[in-house]
C-alpha cells in the first residue's frame, strides 16, 4: 500500500466516525513529515453550522495546538507550507479557499464534488493564478498541488451508506437526501454519484 493510500485510509476512518454520528461522511487528516498532526470530520449537523466541514475542523484543531505551544504567525505559516491534507471528498469552494489562505502545500482527495468542488469541479482555487489584483492589493494568492481520485470508491461507498441510513436533516424515510424545494441538503456531498445511485 502506497503512502498516499495509507493516509487516505486514515481520512476514511475519520469519515466513518462522521457517519457513525449521522453526519455527512467526509473526513480528513493533515500530514507533516509523514506524521498525522491533525484530523477532522464533518460536524455540520451537530453544530448546526454548515461550515464545519472536516477541513475546517482539522485546521482549527491545528491552529489551537500551535498557538498553545506559542508558535508565532510566521512559524505557523511555515508549518502550513509543509503540510499535506488528505480528504475523502474534493474540498468545496469554501474549504479550497481556506486551504489557499493558510498556504497548505498539497491536497489529496478521494471523490470529486460536482456541485461545489473548489479544486477543479466548479472553481479552480488551487491553481496559482496571479490574477488581476487591484492596485494596492498586496495579497499574494497561493495555490497548492492537488491530486484527486485517491480511493474514491471507498469515499463514495460511505456516502452511499449515509444515503441509505438517511440524512437526519432531510425529510423522509431514509432515502431522501433532499429537503423539499432544495437540491442536496448535505453540505459537502453533492456528488453526482449520490443522485445516480438512487434506485
Amino acid at each position: 500500500m502506497s503512502e498516499v493510500d495509507v493516509f487516505m485510509k486514515l481520512a476514511l476512518e475519520q469519515a466513518k466516525l462522521a457517519l457513525d454520528s449521522l453526519e455527512v461522511p467526509v473526513g480528513c487528516v493533515i500530514i507533516e513529515d509523514q506524521k498525522v498532526i491533525s484530523s477532522g470530520r464533518n460536524r455540520t449537523t451537530e453544530t448546526r453550522n454548515a461550515t464545519r466541514h472536516a477541513e475546517m475542523e482539522a485546521i482549527d484543531a491545528l491552529l489551537e495546538q500551535w498557538q498553545k505551544n506559542g508558535s508565532t504567525r510566521e512559524e505557523v505559516a511555515l508549518k502550513f507550507s509543509k503540510c499535506s491534507l488528505y480528504v475523502t471528498c474534493e474540498p468545496c469552494i469554501m474549504c479550497a479557499a481556506a486551504l489557499s489562505i493558510i498556504g497548505i502545500k498539497e491536497v489529496y482527495y478521494g471523490c470529486g464534488n460536482d456541485k461545489f468542488g473548489g479544486c477543479g469541479s466548479i472553481l479552480s482555487l488551487h491553481t496559482d493564478s496571479s490574477e488581476k489584483l487591484a492596485s494596492g492589493g498586496v495579497s499574494r494568492k497561493k495555490g497548492f498541488k492537488c491530486t484527486g481520485g485517491i480511493m474514491a470508491s471507498e469515499a463514495i461507498d460511505l456516502f452511499r451508506s449515509f444515503y441509505e441510513q438517511g440524512n437526519p436533516n432531510g425529510k423522509g424515510d431514509g432515502e431522501h437526501f433532499f429537503r423539499p424545494g432544495e437540491a442536496c441538503s448535505c453540505p459537502c456531498a453533492g456528488q453526482p454519484i449520490l443522485v445516480s445511485i438512487r434506485v
Partner: protein, 463 residues
Amino acid sequence: MDCNGDESATVKIIHIPEKPPILPHCQPTVDVLASAIEPKHANVLVRKLNHIAPLEGLRHIKRIRKTCLDGGKNQLFVILCMGSRNDGETTYLPEEVLELVNTYQLSTFTTKVGHLAYVMLKGLKFCFLCFVEMMSCSHCYFTPSHLIQVCKYAALTKEEWEEQCKLWPTSFHPPTYNIDGITGFSEEDSSSVLNFMKLAVSMAKSCTSVVNAAVIVDPSSKHVIASSCDEVQSCNPLTNSTHMESCCSGANANKMEKDPILLKCSSSEAKQSYDNISCLRPWGWLEQRLHLRPDSWHPLRHAAIVAIENSAARDRRLFPLDGHSAELAQEDCKVSSPIGSPLKRQKTYTNVKDDDERMECHRNGSLCDSTKPYLCTGYDIYFVWEPCIMCAMAIVHQRIKRVFYAFPNPNDGALGSVHRLQGERSLNHHYAVFRVLLPEHILKTVLLTTATKVDQCTTQISL
C-alpha cells in the same frame, strides 16, 4: 423609522444579477432557420413546429414575427428550427420540418425583392424585407428559408428586451424569483436595509483599524440574529467584554433604530489602515501587525465565518435537541468547549432578547418546533465589504437568502467583482445579492476613504 424617511429616499439598493451585465446591443445570439408563411397557416404551423422542432433553451423567443412590408402589407415569418451557420454549409433541415415545408409550400415564397432594397445598419447591408444580413437571406437567393439571428438568453432588463426585439421578437418577464427586493424595495424596506447596513458599518469601524463586519438579520422580525467583526486578529485593544458585547453581539439593534446618526466619528479616525479587512486581503494575515496577542489571531475567522458560528450557537441555545430543556442545553453550551472556536473566545451569552425568545418557547412548546430555524434559511446578511470567495461560499452553506454589501472588493470579491458565485447554477442553494449605495452624508461621516477609492477603481473596471 420615520426619522429615516429622508435617508431611505437617498439610499440606492442595486441588485447584482447572476450574470455580468452586457450592453443591450452586445447580447449573444444564435442562428435559427426561418421562413415566410401565409397567415392562414400560422396557427397550425406553430403548433406542429413546437412539437417536432422545439426551440431548446430559447423559450423567450417568439416563434412568429410579423414584418410590415412596403405598401403596408404584413408578412409573417416563422422559425422552422435551430440553425447552424458553418461557413458556407447548408443548414440541415430535419426531415419532419422538410415535410412541413413541402406540405405548406413554404418553398414557393419568393418575393422579388432581390438585392435592390436594403438598409444600412452598423455598416452592414441588411435585407429590407427581413433585416437579415444581405446575401444570406431568401429574398436575395429565392431559397425557401434562411438563417437569422435571435438572442440566446432571455432579457433581464427592459433595455435588453427592446434591443432583442430588433433582431426577432422575444418575450420579457421581469425577474420575479421568490426573493423580495429583486424587483425593488419599498420605502420601509429600504429604510430597514439602510439601518442594518449602518449597524454593520458602525461595527466595522469600532476597532482601531477598519475591519469587515457581518450582521445576520431575520427580515420577517427585523431582529439581528448574530453578528461579528473580523476576528483574524484581535483588532480591538479594548478587550473588555462589555465593549465587545455592544460592538459585536448585535444586541444594540433596537437602539440603532432609534438613533439614526449612529455613525458620528472623530476625524482623527479618518486616516485608518484598511489592510486588516480580511475579505479584501485573505492572504494578508501573515503581514498584518496590530496589537497582537499570541493567542488571538486566526487566518480564517473572517466576519461572516464568526457570525455564522454565533448564529449556530444561538440556534443550539434557543432550540435544544428534543428531550433537553432549554436551560440544560444552555448548560451544555457553557460546559462543552465551544464547537468550532479553538480560541476559547466565545463569551457566555446573556442576550436579553434571546432570553425572552426562549421564555416564549418554553411557554409554548409547539411554537418552538414550528419556529425552529434550519440554518439561516430566510435570513439576510449585511457586509460592509463584498465577501471573499470563502465567506461567500460559507453563507451558501448556511442557506442565507439575501446578501447586502456596501463596498465592492476588487481583490477577491466573490459576488460580482472577481467571482460571481450567485451565478453558479450547480450550487444547491442560491441567494440574491444587493449592493447598498450609502447616502452621501453617511459616506462622509464614515469616511472610509480607501473604500471610496477602491469603489471608484471597481466602477472603472466594470464600466
